[in-house]
């Protein structure tokens, strides 16, 4: 037997792999705990095996000095920049790549040429597909906008520091500059670019920035809000793991960039208010003394104060500029730079205090038009402050001097120190502005989410085009933590394990570890599922103490640096001290879902080996069996048995049943006891004395994802307890396992529930119960709760009902009340 086991063991070890060329080729065993080292990139001097930046970690630096001017009527930006690029890599660079994201909107871009037809069927759908697909108005508007405007960059000059022209080649959304002399390790180079481009109308063209027109404003010609991002040629990241990140911008996968310092001079009509990354350098030139005084007061306020009031902003809507004004901003150690400008902006601010941090006071600020209304006044800046409070605990102190939320056409987008957020109020016929519960949840949720992005990926600089989940997943996890800490009664969705069940059981999916342009549904894949996984890791697998330490360590290690998935996986393991390869493998590298079924439960009793006890118990068990149906029927029919009719036939065995104990068994029992060595005897005697309740539980893994088994146990004495069985129980057999539970004498189980608190995204609740509980489907449950809502309505009668006017309804109410 030992020999056979040893052979089996070898067979499992050799064949129990599935990934990366090592394949299980016989049997159904699958090693769900196989270590990830063959999947992860090899550690090296730049990023080590512990998940930390290696001892020779490097990253490039790109510093920008930019002057930009906004032509409001033409909606066109004209700008020039001087870029200082420092090569900290060990490589010699002969050319540099820059991102020209605005070229994505050119008609000949890959993004535009590969746009799929967004058809619509107005009205009912049918199965025959006979209705011709139609072009949506949205598509038409987009085509017209593109036909009427030249979108994309006009690069008018590329020159070295002395003004000499530099060779450059534009490749879609990228531009290569050929250096006259190779840039060796440690060297810097400086060059200049002049450009201009037409801002896109965001509502027509989509995207993460652009202008929005308000034709109904009182001012002749209306007003615009300008959200300006991806607006300058930006250095493409050059990293140790990918070299140049020069992957065409298709519109889906976002960005990773180099850190650097920015000096930006923004020239806009002189009645505009500008919100921008960085710190305003010339407030005396651009703000009134009143505004400066209000801003100073806001620094120490504990609730937001207005710098520009809503009334002032609304009055400003009818203003006409008398010239231009230049706002000067400086931003240090940022990986991007965005800004916004409009005469419609109200502006509120509140200083957020973080004692001991590099920036002890952070100015939390919001900029919004009257359309934002009370929704923005109440929640925007406050949500900015709340976000920093929560994220500081999980990551690090907010590392910049300002933190802003700006309302405009973009639904939600993040940049260092500044975010664009879309939710607004609705203007009612009576002139009031209202918002729904969903809109409130969206504003608070989106502000938390976008401000959260300033930590991930604006500071922890992961590459969203490659691994969207690294910032969206981590950030969705933290934004839901912050959301529930704001108000758990707000109906947040999408980030908890229970929100993901429907997605995870479905067939057509891709693993989380998929390049973002190829992800089928970015929402559940890159936001929801990784967030659910991290909630499970924190609350269920590791516990808060270990998780929070490890997550904070990851954040600390990679603050202002460039992590990859392996750095996250390795750090979380190293810092928590828990092998999580099974977890990463299941949640991030497969499309398995969670469904653990409690198949059978056996109750068992300890044999004492004492024949006087065991045989008596056996007799009792036999007597407890139900009487045989035929025998009972015979008795009721009065049939007398032979032995009743002829008692003389009775013998020894009529007095002594098969459970009768003789001295033969007693002697064997004593011999058995005598044969036990001292340790065995102690174990045996103690087990007999305790006479505990034993239960064998059999589980199967229907969903495929190995997870801890969490049991809610209820006992006959009215008590209950929760038991946690680590996921490693599945390591030898990922399909079926059994577990023995032991309780003191008399403490019998009355109910067992797998995952009683819905913390693991278990997809099928029905197989979680012992005894089985029939769980009604959603539809059945709804019908049960709403028996009168459909087929019991007497529609033939109800349809005769006359419509009441408001007056009649009021009269009816009055009559009803008077009758009370």
């Amino acid at each position: 037997m030992r020999y056979l086991l040893a052979v089996l063991g070898i067979a499992l070890t050799i064949s129990g792999a599935s990934a990366q060329g090592i394949k299980q080729t016989k049997g159904e065993f699958e090693d769900k705990f196989r270590q990830l080292d063959e999947v992860l990139p090899s550690p090296n001097v730049y990023r080590n095996a512990a998940g930390e930046p290696g001892h020779e970690y490097w990253q490039q630096e790109a510093d920008y000095s930019i002057k930009v001017s906004l032509d409001e009527d033409a909606r066109r930006l004209t700008a020039s920049s001087t870029i200082t690029y420092t090569n900290n890599s060990p490589d010699t660079l002969r050319y540099l790549w820059l991102q020209l994201d605005q070229n994505r909107f050119r008609e000949d871009s890959i993004a535009e040429m590969t746009r799929t037809f967004d058809s619509k069927i107005p009205g009912s759908v049918n199965l025959r597909g006979a209705v011709k697909p139609q072009i949506t108005l949205r598509s038409l508007r987009r085509m017209q906008s593109q036909a009427d405007h030249d979108y994309g960059y006009d690069i008018t000059r590329v020159a070295d520091a002395r003004g000499g022209a530099l060779e450059h080649t534009i490749v879609g959304t990228l531009m290569r500059i050929d250096l006259p002399r190779p840039l060796t390790p440690g060297q810097s180079t400086r060059f200049q670019i002049d450009w201009a481009y037409n801002l896109v109308e965001q509502k027509a063209m989509g995207g993460r920035a652009g202008y929005e027109h308000f034709p109904d404003d009182e001012r002749e010609g209306g007003n615009d809000i300008f959200l300006v991002a991806q607006w300058f040629p930006r250095m493409v990241a050059y990293s140790d793991y990918e070299g140049w990140h020069n992957k065409e911008f298709l519109g889906s996968g976002e960005f990773t960039l180099e850190f650097g310092d920015y000096d930006v001079e923004i020239t806009v009509p002189n009645d505009h208010i500008v919100s921008s990354a960085g710190v305003l350098q010339n407030d005396r030139q651009v703000l009134t003394s009143t505004q400066r005084a209000r801003l100073a007061d806001a620094r120490d306020a504990d609730r937001p104060l207005f710098v520009v009031t809503p009334e002032e902003a609304e009055a400003n809507e009818s203003s006409n500029p008398t010239g231009m004004k230049t706002w000067k901003f400086r931003a240090e150690n940022v990986r991007d730079f965005a800004w916004a400008s409009s005469r419609k902006f109200a502006w509120d601010a509140q200083g957020f205090k973080q004692p001991g941090a590099e920036h002890e006071t952070v100015m939390a600020m919001s900029f919004y038009p009257k359309e934002g209304g009370e929704l923005w006044q109440k929640y925007s800046t406050t949500a900015v402050v709340h976000t920093m409070e929560v994220y500081n605990r999980f990551a690090f102190d907010y590392p910049y001097p300002t933190s802003q939320s700006v309302n405009g056409p973009v639904g939600g987008m993040e940049y260092p120190m500044i975010t664009f957020n879309g939710p607004r109020t609705t203007l009612q016929d009576d002139g009031t502005r209202t918002y729904t519960m969903a809109e409130k949840r969206f504003l608070i949720g989106v502000v938390i989410h976008e401000i959260g992005h300033i930590y991930f990926p604006m500071v922890v600089n992961s590459d969203e085009r490659q691994w969207t989940w690294m910032d969206e997943g981590l950030n969705s996890f933290l934004d839901s933590v912050a959301g529930y800490e704001w108000d758990p009664n707000i109906p947040w969705t999408r980030s908890l394990p229970r929100d993901l069940v429907y997605y995870m059981v479905s067939e057509e999916q891709v693993p989380i570890m998929t390049q973002s342009d190829s992800v089928l549904q970015l929402g559940p894949n890159a936001y929801g599922k990784p967030s659910a996984a991290l909630h499970i890791l924190r609350e269920t697998v590791l516990g808060r103490e270990k998780f929070d330490f490890a997550f904070r360590e990851y954040s600390r290690r990679w603050k202002f640096k460039r992590p990859t998935p392996s750095d996250f996986f390795r750090t979380m393991e190293e810092a928590s001290g828990v092998d999580l390869d099974w977890f990463w493998r299941g949640w991030f590298y497969t499309t398995d879902h969670v469904d653990i079924s409690l198949d059978r439960v056996f109750q068992m009793e300890m044999d004492t080996e004492n024949p006087d006890i065991d045989l008596a118990r056996a007799r009792e068990d036999m007597l407890n069996e139900p009487a045989k149906v035929g025998v009972t029927a015979n008795e009721s029919e009065g049939i007398r048995t032979w032995v009743q009719r002829f008692p003389d036939i009775r013998d020894f065995y009529d007095e002594n049943d098969i459970y009768t104990v003789t001295n033969k068994e007693r002697n064997e029992y004593h011999a058995y006891l005598a044969d036990l060595d001292e340790i065995e005897r102690q174990v045996f005697n103690r087990a007999v004395d305790e006479d505990a309740e034993y239960y064998a539980l059999e589980f199967s893994n229907v969903g495929g994802l190995v997870m801890p088994i969490i049991l809610g146990l209820e006992f006959n004495d009215g008590t209950s307890e929760k038991m946690y069985i680590p996921a490693e129980i599945w390591r030898k057999n990922p399909h079926r396992v059994s577990k023995l539970l032991v309780f003191e004498k008399g403490k019998e189980l009355t109910q067992i529930v797998v995952d009683p608190d819905w913390e693991t995204a278990d997809a099928d609740l029905e197989n979680n119960y012992y005894p089985r509980r029939i769980t009604p489907s959603r539809v059945e449950a709804f019908k049960f709760r709403n028996p009168y809502s459909f087929d019991r309505r007497d529609i033939m009668q109800d349809i005769k009902t006359e419509l009441e006017t408001d007056d009649e309804a009021t009269e009816d109410d009055a009559e009803d009340k008077s009758g009370d």
């Binding site: 967004d118 011709k132 969206f442 019908k783």
Partner: protein, 176 residues
Amino acid sequence: MRSFSAMCLAAIASGLAAQTALAHEQAIAFSEVTVIQDEEGDCANAACRLEIAHRLIIHDAESTLMDVLGARADLVGDKEAQERFEAYVADRFAIGDAATDTAFDLTLLGGEVERGHYWVYQEAILDKPVEALSIAQGVLMDAIPAQTNRVNVKHDGRVQTLIFSSSPRSQTLSLD
């Protein structure tokens, strides 16, 4: 080009309201179709039926109400808005026997709020078992760009998935 202008004309009818949609929709709807039928083909004694549960994000749904239906958009508190939305969802979904391409008559049971989701329920009683389903799911596609609808069909302990992305054109699925 001629067919292009014909399509344009037809499209104009829906008005420009869609452009006012507030951004940041999640653009995802889930539907679960549960097929309950006797394997022996006996639908006389054991009811053969379909249960259908659509899960929509309330924010997306409210945007749609405003844009497509022009209705007051408070799905949490406004009963009339709920009923209009339920009727809209029912109108944008069809399921039938793939063998004949005939749609089943669906009973709209109603809907309810569950946290940030709005659920809409339908059911169909079948007079004979079905071997393959034809499904079209176009909900919210007329209001939200890049709306993607995921339909999970549960049958005999198994889940199969259809994804409707950009077009509600019907797709078929075998229950074997």
